[in-house]
Amino acid sequence: MEAHAKAIQDDEPGMRTLALSGCISECAHKETIVYYAFAEPIDRALVESLARVGELYVDEVTGIFKVIQMDHFYVFGVLGERELRICMYYSDKISDRLKIDRQLVEHFQARGEVSMRYNKSGSLARIATPVSTPEIVLVGAH
C-alpha cells in the first residue's frame, strides 16, 4: 500500500520531486495525521535529522523508528520505506508540524539545492531539486 508514495511525480519542468506532504486525517479533538512521501527510501541520516525535534527510538528488528515529543506528537516510519507520518495531538498542531517541516527542509538543503512549495497554512507541500543538465556526449570527438 504505497498510495502516498505513488503520488510522487515531477510536476514542474526542470525539477525533480524529493518529498511530498499532505494530510491523512484532520481532527480538532483527536490526532491530526500528516504524511510525508519520499522519492527515495528513508535512510538513517533523515531519521537522525528528525531526532532534533524529539526523542528517537529505533527498533532494529522491524526498522520502525519513532520520534516522540511527549504530549505533542510522534513521527513514525520504517527504515527503507518511503513514507513517514506524524500523529499530532497538541492543540497547536500547526507549530508542531512546522518544526518537522523545518527539519526535513534542512536535511534536504544539506544535500543540495532545493526549492519548496507551501500550503496556505504555511506547512510544507513539496520539496524538489533542479534536474542537472545531462552531459553532452560528443560522438566522434576523438
Binding site: 500500500m1 538513517r44 522491524t62
Partner: protein, 416 residues
Amino acid sequence: MAIPERSSGTRHPYLSRQDFPGSCYFDNGAATPMSAAAMEALTQACRLAWANPSSLHGTGREAREKVLEVEQLLRAELGAEHARIAFTGSGTEANNMAVLGYWSANGRPGERVIISRFEHPAILECIDVLRQQGAEVMMADIRRDGVVDLEQLESLLNEHARLVSVMAVNNELGTIQPIGRIGRMCRERRIAFHTDAVQAVGKIRLSMADSCIDLLSLTAHKFHGPRGVGALVIRPDLLINPIAYGGASDTLLRPGTQNVPGITALGAAVRFFREQREVMERTRRELDIYLLEGLSCIPGFHLNTGGAERVHGVFNVRFDGVDADSLIQHLDYFGVHCSRGSACSAASPKLSATLTAMGLTEKEIQESFRISMGFFNAQHEIDWLLGLLPPLVSCLRAMPDKSTHVGKLMSAPVCS
C-alpha cells in the same frame, strides 16, 4: 551519535510494504464493499427505474414495482409477513424513526423507555429528546462479556414501560444479543420492542415473528449493498408517526421521493446473501477460527468479549501495553485497515461508551480496537496481519506512546 547502517543487499531487511503490495480491509463493521450484483442493480435501476415511484403513470408504476419487490424480499428474509417498510437514508435515520416515531405516536409523559447502554449513538442521542418529551429513560446494563444483562433489563419492565430498544449485534464487539428472549419478555408485557439490526442483517438469521420484534432497523452498506439506503421494518398494526414532514408522509412514513436505484441495489444485496448464505457462513466461520488461533499466540492478547457468542469475523481485541491508536496507525502504514470500534465515533475523544459499560479500565479501553472481517476477506490477508502483529506489538510495547513516558527502549535514544 550516528545510527549504523545495515548491509541490506538489494532491499532493506526490515518489515516492508513490498511483501504485501495490496491492502487488507478489516473494517467491515464500518462499511462493506458493494457486491457486483448490487452495483449492477444500482446502475440498471438508474437507467430503467428512475421515475418517481409515487407517480401514477406507467413509468412511475415500473419504479414502484421495483420498490414493492424489495419490500417483499425483506419481509421474507426477516420473517415479517405483512410488515410495513419505511425506506430511509441510513440506519441512523431508521433508528431515530423507530424510537422517536414510536414515542410520538404512543408515549405519554411519565412512561418509560428502556435502552441498553451500548446502543449506537443513533439511539443514545435520542435520549435527550425523549426526556424533553416527558419520557422516563432507563438504561439496561451490559455484562463484562458484552451481552445485555437480562435480569437487570427485566427488572426495568414495569407497568409504565412502553418501549425497549436493544441492538441485535453490537457494532463494536460483534456480540449477539438475546433478542428472542427480550422480545418475548416485552410481548408478554405488551411493551414494544425495537432492535437495531444494522450489524446483524446478512450475518445471522432473524425472524421478527419468532423473536417478537416490533421494529427493526437495517442499512444496506453493512451487507455489501449501497451506502445511503436503510429501512425500518414495522409490525403491521403498530402505530408510528413520521419524524419528518412533506409530500406523502401519511402513506410513506418518510416523506420525499424514494431512492429507487438504492432500494433496488439493497434488494440485490439481500438476494446475494440469501443465495450465498451457506458459503458466507462457512467462510466467515473458517476465517474467524483461523484469525483467533493466530491472535491467541501473541503474548498479551485479549479478546474483550471472552467466550460470548459473536458474529463470525468481528473481534474487539487488545494487547497489553499497546496503545490502539498507535497500533492502528502502524497497521495502516502496512496496508491493514482496522478501527477503534465504531466509525461513527472514531473522531471522538471520548472513551467508548460500550467498553466503559462493560467495565473495562481506561487503560484497557485505550488498548482496544476492532477487527471486522467480511465475506470478501481471504486467508492470505489474515496471514499478512498475523505476520505484522507480533513484531509491531513487541516494538510498540517497548516504545513510549503518546502520553506515557514509560516503556523499555529497544535501542537507547540516539539523539535528542
